[in-house]
Symmetry: C2
């Protein structure tokens, strides 16, 4: 066992996917590493691959086994894919949580909902502040993103400095909150940086991501061209966008009305931490409904087509407080998150079918991304000039392109880590030294279940080919003692008939002297599946229950 101090990096989420960021840094000799965790987020389940799963989070069992050595969770910013798993996973780590005020306020709300508020040591770090955690000394350096208070963390250790970017872009005018502290970042580069652990989301995009100020100007102009009610759909967490919507309303003689629970939650958190002091008075839904159509501007949740969010209900015309009709407009000040296309387009079709004009960011430049395109990545590497580039927060195609870009910028080493890969960053060259158990946990209903348990997979199998359940009743001598029960779900009637025939035939042939209940069960199962395959071309999930009297 090595006694030498080492600095190691271990992603347990976010490497290979955009979402559920979870990065651990370890310091010390192998048998007694102290750990800090940077970000602890979720990603959203998909009906395709994980039906019935709302959110997915990293399996952190390996780290939880050494939780006495986990010094804290540090959140870079308040997006769900960075803080959404703190409440559900905290019981496995039971360590303090650190964040700047706005982020801390939102984490607090989540802990409260989870009944953990009194239990978790949640510590505020001032914007631009510092934090000492064992061998780690962290500087919170302000950067820009699509939310308030994004931070680049300078993680100082005796073996070198890691710059962990979090999610970022370079927005010269973010409208609200701090600007990017370019001086601090370039000073960090001058001091010497061992490794940069960096956002890869937009590494395939040339150029730059653009500024919120441009979006504000375009929203003001666009709203000026619209006649009836206007609803802007945007991500609730983008508080600058909300402020821009307020200004677009004001500039065009409209009053802003927020619609959707998360919209209000974000505004409250922003106000409680000192932002939005000069936001004009908002109209509530009742007041807005009384205004003439050209006097109102709604800012609504649900830009991703989420079926329970405000915009979906407005489109279905069953929102309790907001009514749109022919001549009104919906502006999508948002991007289409890959995988959400069908739901978003279905929503747009409903609106268009009701004569409501649908205006997208494509056509009117009313959205900018919060992640660095290649031009911004280049700038970051020029500032920091690290020994090692470590792309995270991306799918493989983003991370490999990011690594290629870093190499082209003369960064000597570029890793493309996978979740569970433990890299030594120092001393010596970066090296993969271990692979630890990793994976995903599904929030399945209210229960946290390991992906490996296969519940979602089992349900998917039923979604594809339906289900057959056969019930056999045997008497004390192992003879079939009642009519065979057959139940199918999601299968055509003619196939059910064929299966029934096959099952009855198999039961009839059963000879308790030659085969026992277990053999009968297997015979019947095979007969049922074969009959379905022959009649239908699909093999349903097939279960046989034997009841012995």
């Amino acid at each position: 066992m090595k006694k030498q101090d080492e600095l190691v990096f271990l992603p347990l989420g976010g490497s290979g996917e955009i979402g559920m960021n979870f990065n651990a840094y370890g310091y010390g000799p192998e048998h007694d590493r102290k750990w800090i965790v940077v970000d602890c987020g979720v990603m959203f389940g998909r009906e395709t691959s994980t039906p019935g799963v709302d959110v997915i989070m990293p399996d952190i069992g390996w780290l939880a086994e050494q939780r006495d050595n986990v010094l804290g969770i540090v959140a870079t910013h308040a997006h769900e894919d960075h803080i959404g798993a703190i409440a559900p996973l905290w019981p496995m780590l039971r360590c303090p949580v650190y964040a700047t005020p706005f982020t801390a306020r939102l984490i607090e709300g989540k802990l409260e909902e989870a009944g953990l508020l009194g239990k978790v040591k949640l510590r505020e770090v001032p914007v631009g502040g510092k934090l000492k955690l064992g061998p780690f000394a962290l500087d919170f350096i302000s950067i820009t993103h699509s939310i308030l208070e994004p931070n680049l963390l300078a993680i100082r250790t005796p073996l070198g400095v890691v710059a962990h970017t979090g999610d970022w872009k370079l927005d010269a005018d973010p409208l609200l909150g701090e600007k990017t502290d370019e001086a601090a970042i370039s000073k960090l580069g001058d001091e010497g940086v061992l490794a940069v652990v960096c956002d890869s989301t937009n590494a395939l995009n040339p150029g730059a991501s653009g500024s919120e100020i441009g979006v504000r100007d375009n929203l003001i102009k666009l709203v000026g061209t619209l006649k009836g009610r206007v609803a802007i759909a945007a991500f609730a967490s983008n508080v600058a966008r909300l402020d821009s919507a307020a200004r677009a309303a004001m500039a065009n003689g409209r009053r802003l009305c927020l619609v959707g629970r998360s919209m209000h939650k974000m505004v409250d958190a922003a106000r409680e931490t000192g932002y939005l002091r000069d936001l004009p008075p908002l109209a509530n839904e009742e007041d807005a409904a009384e205004l003439p159509p050209h006097k109102v501007l709604y800012l609504v949740t649900g830009s991703q087509g989420e079926p329970r969010a405000a915009l979906a209900r407005i489109a279905e015309n069953n929102h309790p407080g907001v009514f749109l009709e022919r001549g009104d407009s919906v502006v999508f000040s948002s991007r289409v998150i890959p995988g959400n296309e069908i739901g978003i387009f279905a929503l747009m079709n409903k609106l268009a079918g009701r004569g409501i004009e649908v205006i997208t960011a494509d056509a009117h430049d009313v959205h900018v991304s919060g992640h660095p395109a290649q031009g911004e990545l280049r700038q970051m590497y020029q500032w920091l000039r690290p020994q090692i580039a470590i792309p995270v927060h991306g799918e493989m195609r983003h991370m490999t392109e990011h690594a290629r870009l870093a190499k082209s910028l003369q960064v000597p080493e570029a890793l493309v880590p996978a979740n569970g890969q433990l890299y030594r960053l120092a001393p010596g060259h970066a090296e993969l030294i271990d692979e630890v158990p990793s994976g995903r946990m599904h929030m399945d209903g209210r229960i946290l279940v390991a992906e490996g348990e296969g519940l979602a997979k089992a349900r998917r199998a039923m979604a594809f080919a339906g289900l057959i359940v056969v019930t056999l009743v045997l008497d004390g001598k192992g003879r079939v003692a009642a009519e065979t029960g057959l139940l199918t779900e999601g299968m055509p009637g003619s196939v059910e008939d064929a299966v029934r025939e096959a099952v009855d035939e198999a039961a009839r042939r059963h000879n308790p002297k030659k085969s026992d209940a277990e053999e009968l069960r297997e015979t019947v199962r095979r007969a049922a599946r074969r009959a379905a395959q022959d009649a239908w071309g699909k093999k349903p999930v097939t279960r046989v229950t034997v009841i012995e009297l």
Copy 2:
């Protein structure tokens, strides 16, 4: 009952969706209309909304009831969403099928696979030919699209001419096949057009779709910059693209090798109908595998991430004949069809993870759409100057924008039809006169099932919340006579425990003097669902079987 002759239009598929095009035109008095069907296509099922369904086609039951009056199915071109439902739906109509030679050849192949070859009257119409079907006289006018032999149909009737565009674009140099017969189209406009029934796919896109010649040039250049093996992924039906791949190979000292069954099927159909006469000799997979990497160019199927197609197998490194490795490249000469993002990106991630460079159409202009953007739509309306614009082949958002555009071009009337809406086009103004039963049929396994039967929906419910099956055995007196059987699928163990307890409790409380088997079944069903909801937050599909001894 009206005895006056009328010209009517009835879409049964393709209005409100991109796919499963099926348009019927009727002529005659209401009680004795003669019908022609233009196109008869499928759309593909989605795991999200229709798990276990490969293809979806229109429910044509209403038209099938009058099949003696259906004079024929006319195919505009050979894409699946225009001809894919001919074989499965033909038995409901039993009418002749008409198409130009390349399209007819591909329909023939499908009929052969379905065992219908001898039964269906399949009639070839020459390119640029004419066809008389009862009161309808059709001119096949050549236009351009992303396949050989696309046709605009001029449908002449005593009450006016309908121009049915099929799928189209304006490609000044389509490379193979006929150019757009602009003279014939503008002459049609000069003669006077009652209605244009027109492709809406790209009605949201400004500008023009671009030409295959540009793609060819860019492919030749791009392949010249690549070092190892190159695989181009493209839609098999785009024969011009295949020819361009051959030229990109030749220009760069490579040999072209086709990979994927549908690629070969298309080349065969093209050759049999007189195209691709000067295609350089192709390498087969064995020969190609022997060539040095920089001497081979594969053209492969699977650009949409289809799991069983060539490219998916190549990415998984389990294709029997094609091997790619670090330093090789895959060029996506295709677009991402909405809904396929996640599958395509997963495929790209696999390739990127193996060190294979992934090159997309976004970055290198190696794909153009086959559908008209706004500039091309404008040109078409300028040529035809119809009385009525009828957008089809689009979602609602495309069709409403298309209608808006037509109105802005001074077309007096613009309809936005829904499937099942029967419009009178003449005499008099266009008018919705009836709504006939319409809907979708699912090819579920090998069985055609009405969407309304709810099989896919039932399976989806199981995918979301799993399944509980309870089996109760009652004796002759209605008493519980054996241990209650419980079987669950896709549910956490702790929830199963809670359900078992609730079910056992309900069975224990059963008093055959107070409630019968049916009441017991319902009591148990409710107890099981309530227990699951309490423990899990989801209500599984719950079925209770009662076996009476």
